[in-house]
Symmetry: C2
Subunit: 407 residues, 2 copies
């Protein structure tokens, strides 16, 4: 579908979603009244992007504390909730997700579409190796797999002894696909070797991941592919945004695609929350097009990505994220008007052959100018072979290329 | 429904099930050919009970080793399997369960019926506190809850830290119902108190259990009811038999009911595998009436129960198990033609006020007669107050009553 036709359909859906939320959710009515926005003002996508205020996870938590247990953005009666999940609450009170039956079905439909795009087909066996509890990752994958007509093997994870059992089941059942976190896949590789198994014996075809940025980081992606001999695909945005597979790699593309007709995504300037042009970095802001229970409208992720215009190499016309979702804006700082993200500096240095594994970022202000100093440790041989000036030059040039400022 | 009409409908279904299995499953064809049984011989329920041989868990495991991964009793193509679960494999190789989509739906339907019988209604919140992995208990409860139109909260269990989080979620969400194992409910009571909570604050209305016999053991049932202030209901037979809620308590009855139109159950003599009369003890033998993927036909449970004729106190005409499923036949022994089960002796003694917690069973043979000697420890005060003869009399009389032999 050409992006223009898609955008017309998205606008139409956004108007329905916004009308619905204004009517059903005191949370949005209050927020929008305060911001001087009324649904009747929404005529173009630009109106949406510039007039509708963003909401944050903190807003959701506060609403749930004020109106327990689901917050006053729940748009259905409590007894019509189909499934409850939530955040694990590592910081502060956990947030509860209330998903209606029709939303559950549309998450399943959306995920089945995306998983088809990853190359999965009816009858493929999908081994799900993440915990089934509050975490929406496991459940979202399961219902997508069920909807696709795949053979679902929801093995789970997290309990003592499960990893050793998992590798034996993987060897015995030889599933087509594996879902989990990248770090767990690397751990299972170790467990398999301890159990006398080679992960290539599992004969996995596709491994898809969420929960961590690893599967879009070349070094980690290569390591997993090498260990298992399978295609590695990154996916996933935020649990609140389920269908969280709205950003996901496809079978033919290494980039994550933004399935804009599932969740409308703007990559925004982290200060103004306005869309940045393609080719630039920013933070994703997500809007549900199909959720009726707890619709998220312009939810600020706080994550960091770089987006590009489609079509991607698989021919789909969606915008894409060639480096995945790779950091957080929370710890960002601004140097001479440029947003600088520690995770980016980390990524650049980690990609250098001679990088010793440690660095220090020092920001100083003398007069009106902020200065950024990056101290980098090289590998031992850099110092032994007196290659320090050469190493220094390389690091400087690569950081400059990434950050767009003098280092 | 009067049992006679039900039995006619069951017979009709059994004939379909047996024809289907003979055609689709080499496992049954082989077994029945060896036993001289052919589906055309099945004219009455008695034919079924006396001519069809029982199968055992060992038979299933052997079939899966011979024909991996699902055994030659899988009656559908592998790519039509909807969900894979299994035994945890504490002894020997685990058994894999392959459940088709239509079987998954009929398990959900059956469990929804049984859960309605427990007093659950659409819109009730059901908190599921058992691990989501191979274990069919959690999944069977979840899909029954979904089908019933309840608000499902599949919290899971098993990972470090989950129990402490569980009690806070229970307090926050105040579900109508709790599902798990009895021992886990008792553990959560302790965890709650450690976290400064009283389980009565959860305001649970119904707690239903499977996986262990505890919820039918008066001492344990009372302890859970006391801690939580909720109705305690026992349920569950075998994972292989899903819909495993085929034996379950109801809202009005303390007995477990045998939902014969879901799974046809015969309580059998553990040697002849023929049905024993109502009022006697035996081992349940189960037959699926609705499963098409891995139908179980006369699966020997090896468990121990006592059955009675319906109707139960809730008015349902099903046979019932007033003491639940309370032991295993594996460790049974025979004294003067009577089957004696150590678990029964344990149950009798545990119910005595002055029981000290230890006993010893000694079986001797002099000549043709086996002799059973039970040595029982009393509480300290029994010895201090010289109540030994009285204690001895009580134990003797109660054991005799239960076992039907001189002790």
């Amino acid at each position: 579908m050409p992006p223009e036709s898609r955008n017309r359909a998205i606008l139409e859906r956004l108007r329905q979603v916004v009308d619905y939320a204004y009517e059903k959710a005191p949370f949005y009515r209050r927020k929008w009244d305060d911001a001087g926005f009324h649904p009747s003002q929404l005529k173009t996508l630009e109106d949406f992007e510039t007039r509708v205020p963003v909401i944050t996870k903190q807003d959701l938590r506060a609403a749930q504390e004020e109106t327990p247990p689901f917050g006053d953005y729940l748009c259905i009666p409590e007894e019509e909730v189909h499934h409850i999940h939530g955040t694990s609450g590592t910081t502060g009170n956990p947030t509860a997700f209330a998903v209606s039956r029709s939303d559950w079905d549309s998450i399943a439909n959306a995920h089945a579409r995306v998983m088809w795009g990853m190359g999965l087909r009816p009858g493929d066996m999908v081994f799900i190796a993440s915990v089934f509890s509050l975490y929406m990752g496991s459940w979202g994958t399961l219902i997508g797999s069920e909807r696709l007509g795949a053979v679902s093997f929801p093995f789970g994870a997290g309990a003592p002894g499960m990893s050793a059992r998992a590798v034996h089941w993987l060897k015995r059942m030889k599933p087509a696909a594996f879902y989990g976190t990248p770090s767990y896949a690397l751990y299972l590789d170790e467990v398999a070797r301890d159990e006398g198994l080679d992960p290539r014996e599992f004969e996995l075809r596709i491994m898809f991941f969420s929960g961590e940025p690893g599967a879009s980081i070349p070094a980690i992606r290569d390591k997993i592919r090498e260990a298992y001999g399978a295609r590695v695909i990154d996916s996933g945005t935020m649990a609140e945004i389920s269908p969280w597979m709205n950003a996901a790699g496809s079978h033919e593309s290494k980039s994550m695609l933004l399935w804009q007709d599932i969740v409308y995504t703007e990559v925004c300037d982290p200060k103004t929350f306005c869309r940045v042009p393609f080719g630039e970095r920013g933070t994703p802001v997500y809007t549900h097009l199909e959720r009726t229970s707890q619709p998220m409208i312009r939810l600020l992720s706080g994550d960091l990505t770089l987006w590009e215009e489609g079509p991607s190499s698989c021919g789909r016309s969606y915008p894409c994220l060639p480096q995945g979702i790779f950091g957080r804006i929370d710890d960002a700082f601004t140097i001479r008007g440029e947003n600088v993200y520690p995770s980016e500096i980390d990524a650049v240095l980690s990609g250098m052959e001679d990088y010793g594994g440690e660095h220090r970022i020092i920001i100083t202000r003398e007069g009106a100018m902020d200065e950024l100093l990056v101290q980098v440790e090289g590998k031992k041989k850099v110092y032994e072979k007196e290659e320090v000036p050469e190493f220094h030059r390389k690091a400087e040039s690569q950081l400059q290329q990434m950050l767009g400022i003098r280092t």
